[in-house]
Every structure is written in structure tokens, then in C-alpha cells.
Amino acid sequence: MKNSNALKNIKNKELIFSGQELFSLTIKTSELINIENIILEKDVRVNILLIDDNPITLKIIQRKGTHLDFKIFNKTTINNSDITFDLHNESELNVVFADFSHGKAIEKITVNLLGRRAKCHWWLSSVASDKDNKEFKVHINHFAPETEAVSDSYGVAKHASRLVFSGTSHVLNGAKRSKTRQNANIMVFSKDADAVAKPILEIDENDLEASHSATLGQVNEDHLFYLRSRGISEDEAKTLIVMGYLTPILKKIENEEIRQEIENLILARI
């Protein structure tokens, strides 16, 4: 496994990965100032963990047969960011976004499934509290046949915060036998919190599978009753339920330190 030495090989504002091995690295967003494009050459496999909250404008190009695990960990301030992923034939993208930041901003992510059998999976766990106003726009475009996308977003909105999950999954004409699924869930903790889910499907093709779902609301009353009926206090019951809601993201993060940090943050913020 090669690591962040790769960052020293930047030419023309492009960071290029090529070769047969698995690249695994942690990048600080501040280091991305000099990078406009990240390119994964044919068949390469890369794991990137992005930390330290700075605004990002980035385009990532995945050539044929590449595999990218892209993890973003926001813990202090949210910024307006715009990230685009272009996926060519047979390439795969897993995005895992752990967001515990404060502030007001829009994070825009676009995934273009340009090549046949390109796949992506998006997972977001986000906590909004106090006066946070955060929007996550996730656009996934199916240009080619047999492309697949699954988008799962889980959020918690507390106090007087506002959390918006929006995004369009667009299946263009010709993207036959594609599959697209959007799932947006936000748990609301107070009357002053605002939760909005806008999952939109734009379908211009007949031969495909598409679905979307959105769940917005307070902690499920029956779940809360069940836990409390066993002697668990209301606060502890809510904590258990919300932990259960947000922690599936932990399984997707290999870095032990970061995983612990996220777990602590979830506990602190609930």
C-alpha cells in the first residue's frame, strides 16, 4: 500500500493514481487547494479519507475498472463544497460522509455514471443542532446502461437547526437496465428544528428499476415506549435509538482512530 507520498506527485493541478496496487491515504482538505482533478487510471484501487473542514471544489475521474472508497469526515465547520465524480465503464465508487459540522452551507455532490456497469453507493450520517443550516445535494446521473446507484442519507435535526437532503437521480434515455434507489431519513428532536427531504427521480428510460423513500419525524413513539417499558429512562432510550440510527456508518470506516472519534462525536451531540 502506498500512502500520502502520492500527494507529492501533483502536476498541472492533477493528482493521478495509476498502477496495480491499492492506494490508501488521508488527505487534509487544505492540501486540496492545489488540486482541481483527481484521476484514477485504469484498474487502480484507491481509498481516500478526507479530513479538516475546508471548502472543496474537486472533480474526480474514475477510468475503466477503478474502485474508489471516498470517505469524508466533517467535524467543525461546514463549507460550500462542490465535488463531481465521473465514473467510466465497470468502475465503482463508495462515498461515506460522516458530518458533525456546524454552520450554514450547501454540500453539492454529483455522480456521473458515464460508462456501462458503473456503480456507486452513497452513505451520509449527519447531525444538525443549535442554529446549523445544512443542505446536502446529491445528484446522480445515469448516462449508460446497467449502471447502479444507491443513496442512503440519515440525519438528526436538533434545537433550531435546519437539515435538508435533496438531490435528483436522473436516468437518461438509453441507460437501459439501470438501477437507482434513494433513501432519505431525518429524525427531528424539537419543534423548532426543520427537516426537509427532497428525493427526486427523473426518469427518461423505460427499462430500469427505480425507487425512492423519505422518512421524516420524531423518534418513533412505539420504539421509545418499548425501551422505556424495560426501565430505560427517556434520555437513555432516545440515545440508544439515535445511536442505532447513525452508527451503521461506523462499520464503513476502517480507520480505528476516526471511528472512535465519530462514535464520541455522536454521543456528544445527542
Binding site: S213, E221, R228, S229, G231
Partner: protein, 275 residues
Amino acid sequence: MHKLIIEGLHVSVEGMEILKGVDLVISEGETVALLGPNGHGKSTLLNVIMGHPKYTITKGTIKVDDKDLTCLGPDERSLAGIFLAMQYPAEVPGVINADFFKAAINARREKPISLYQFYRLLDSTSKQLGMPLDLANRSLNEGFSGGEKKRNEILQMMILNPTFALLDEIDSGLDVDAIQLVAEAIRKEQRPDRAFLIISHYARLFDLVPPTRTIVMINGRIVLEGGPELIQRIDKTGYEFLKVDYGIDIEKETTSMNEMSIGICAAKETIKNEK
């Protein structure tokens, strides 16, 4: 001698009165069979005793000895010794069984239970009920069959040691072998210092777990009390005899809400258990 005392209890849900003056005293050592046609308030009574927030008590009290539970939350009632094995146990995604059991156990302890003691307790209890070995790591009730969910309720009862165990149709959805298993577990849990209040529609369960007293609920009131022979009579001839022999009207007093059907996307959680 501990007693669960319900006096003059009137309960409404969504503006409709379901319990219309229930008086009931259950003492330690009793096993009370609660019978009655569907929709007449049996399950409501058990859920109200446990403190489900969707029910409003408009009159009356629920007490354990001198302690008035009427305004207390379900967690406080649990600590006062009440346990409800639910008719439809909730599936709570992401909440791991082990964390859930530990939290419930620790709520009653001064010092948190040691990991070793906890796993020993969970292991031996779940073996008795034939529960799967990987139970501890799974999400609460998720992926459990109906029968497994019911056995998980009994498992929790065995771990939490309640004084008043309320069982809401614990045998529904169980096959013959599972009923045997559950009945044996209940029998083992019967003690002079514990009381059971059991709802069931099937005489079979009461053959295996003979009650000390039988009560019948019609239209939100307890209309008749008797011994185990009442169960046999109802099992053979239904509830008609109440009208004939006792002049008790068994027609439902109010029309129940129609079952709702919501067909568009989402609405996943709301359709269950509308009565």
C-alpha cells in the same frame, strides 16, 4: 404482600373511550386469565398499566401498594416491578440486543453488571428458550420470526424479574412446540411473590399454565369473574352465554375505527396495529 390496584379506570384513545371503569386488584402469587372478545379493551388495559403514551387516563388510578403510578412514565413503572410482554414487539433498527438488555439490567443496579456476568446470564437464559446463539449481536427484534419475538419477550421477563408480569397474547404466532417451551418457561417463573395477568384466546395455554382466577372483559369493563371452568365454557361455546345466563350485552358499544390503507410511497411505520 404486593398488590396491583386499579380503581375506577377510564381510558380514552384519540377521543374514544375504551376502558369504562375498570376495578381490579391482583396480588402476588396469582395467575389471572383475562378473556373477552377482540376489541373490548383487554390489550388496552395491559398497555395502560405499562404506561403507553397514546392512551389518556381520564379517571381513576393505577397503584402498586401505596405507590401511585398513574402519572409516572413507563420506565418508572418498570422499576416498580411491572413487565409487559407485548402483542407486537417493536423492531428497533440499529439498537443491538446486547446494548438494550444491558441498559435494562443496569437501570436496576447500583453498579453496572460486569461483561462476564452479563453474557453468562444472557447465554443461559436464551438457551432455555431455544433462542439463536448470535442473538446478542443482532438488532432488537429485527429479522426475528413472530415466534422468536414472543420468546424474546419471555427472555426479557426472565432477566428483569418483575413482580407483575402482563402477557399480551404471548401464544399468538407460536407453533405447538413453541407454546410448550413458552408455557414451561412461564411455569418456572411462577412464584409466590409474582403475579401474572395473561391475555389469550386459546384454552391450550391455560391448560399448560392453569390460572388461579379468570376475568372477562366486555366493552371496557370487567363483567365476570370466576375459576378455570369459565375458560372451558368460553372455549366450547363462545361468549353468547354471557347474554343468556347473566344478561350481559356483548355487542360492541361503539363502532371501531376502520382499518386504514395508505397506498402511496413511504407510510411504512404508521399502518401497523390500527385497531
